[in-house]
Amino acid sequence: MSKVISLQEAAQLIHDGDILGLGGNVLHRAPMALVRELVRQNKKDLKLVKTAGAMDVDMLCFGGCVSSVDAGFISYESEFSLAVHYRKAVESGEIMGNEHACYTVISALRAASYGVGFMPVKGLVVSDLIGVNDYFLRIQNPFTNEMVTVVKAICPDVAVIHVQEADEEGNARITGPLFEDVLFSRAARKVILTAEKIVPGSLFSSGMKKADIPNFLVEAVVRAPRGAAPCSCFGCYDIDRKGIIGFKALKDREALGGHLLSLEYGDHKGYGGSL
């Protein structure tokens, strides 16, 4: 059965207050088309989860859609510098910046994927992060009596992952770095895929290069060519510098609204906003 739906319908599957896992890493394969649609639909109180986020997190913060961000690192890299909207929103107290080490996000997602409530993390020993965050605790290893830090499981209500290829049933193949996306697909309650291409399922069954994410874990598939733009999508396109700089130059929410309106037709047609 086909799980292909429109971008607007996919965004409607994400509810105010949801814990939302975002696929990709910094400016690579971020699910930007769906992120833009979430802002257009004026979502509120989203709790974002990512190891290292950039424009996706920054845009959702700018749009007023976010109440907390659990991440190890939120910034564009060297060339495009800081995630200003995330930063301002945390500094004003509008958003809670829950700092992790990238590894504690991974450990928290592993806990969810293993079906346990927490995960020991070896490296986190001397850190003020342990005391100020209620998702870290120091406990005794019951076998050796040594102290160990544990991180609370993070089970995203929804993970949104942009992939190069998916079939109508939701089998998806990622080309290039997987980042934490396969783990996200196992840890989340619901997985929504946006895909550069909808491919026939026979592509996976006829060869031995199988899908990384199996259809039974997937709720919905959206055809979204250039769905990661202006971020990069390996094998399809590199970053669109103009798109990133244009977004970073937007002054206020009104300007953001105009920007998103100008990309709406392309996003909804499945052209990711660059046509």
Binding site: E77, S78, A101, C102, K122, V132, P177
Partner: protein, 241 residues
Amino acid sequence: MMESKNRVCDTMVCAMARMIRDGDNVFHGVSSHMPMVAVLLAKAMHAPKAVHLNIPGGVDPVLRKLQKYTSAGPELLEGSKSYFPLMEVFDLSMRGGLDVAFLSGVQFDVWGNVNASVIGDYKKPKVRLPGGAGSAVLIPTAKRAIIWRTKHDQRTFVNQVDFITTRGNVDKIVTPLCIFKMENGEMVLDTIHETSSLEEVRENTGFPIKYSRIAYTPLPTKEELSALGRIDPGNYRNIEF
């Protein structure tokens, strides 16, 4: 700073490269052009058997082209023979198998505490920094954590950090003025770059400078500079300046 024909970014990158030993497993993360170039330089010079690990997961990538905007892009996987992504690099470090991790931060104190998190109150900070990324688990578990920071002033090298993101196995700290080393739990001066001076390091450091001898950071050699030209023709090692 004094005039010199040597650029500080080259002095720093060459110093970082020389800290890598042949056979070391070495990791760098996001926003890390200088360490990325340093690893490639070390492998081209004295440490061909060093193992280059990174976020996209390419082991020892042969890079066709570096990217200006990222040190975590797919090009780091494309030219490699095997896949060993970030989560496995972390696992490797936890079980004691990571020799060198290159990390940064915003504030450092004499006790080797690193702050990459916040200035002010954590819940409503005066400045929300990007975050320590892997630092909080890698600095305590990698055998040697090497810090680089392209700012050296009294707001960066402070008496006491505002917030301890982590503390652990910091070995060296490379700045535009000098190299510090950790010795008996204290940050002490290791070498001064020829473009700087003891006075300049003192004036720009928020804690008293301790040293056992005055030594200067070795200059980049002709061979290193020519290798740098090949590895990083776009000069991205200078992007943070």
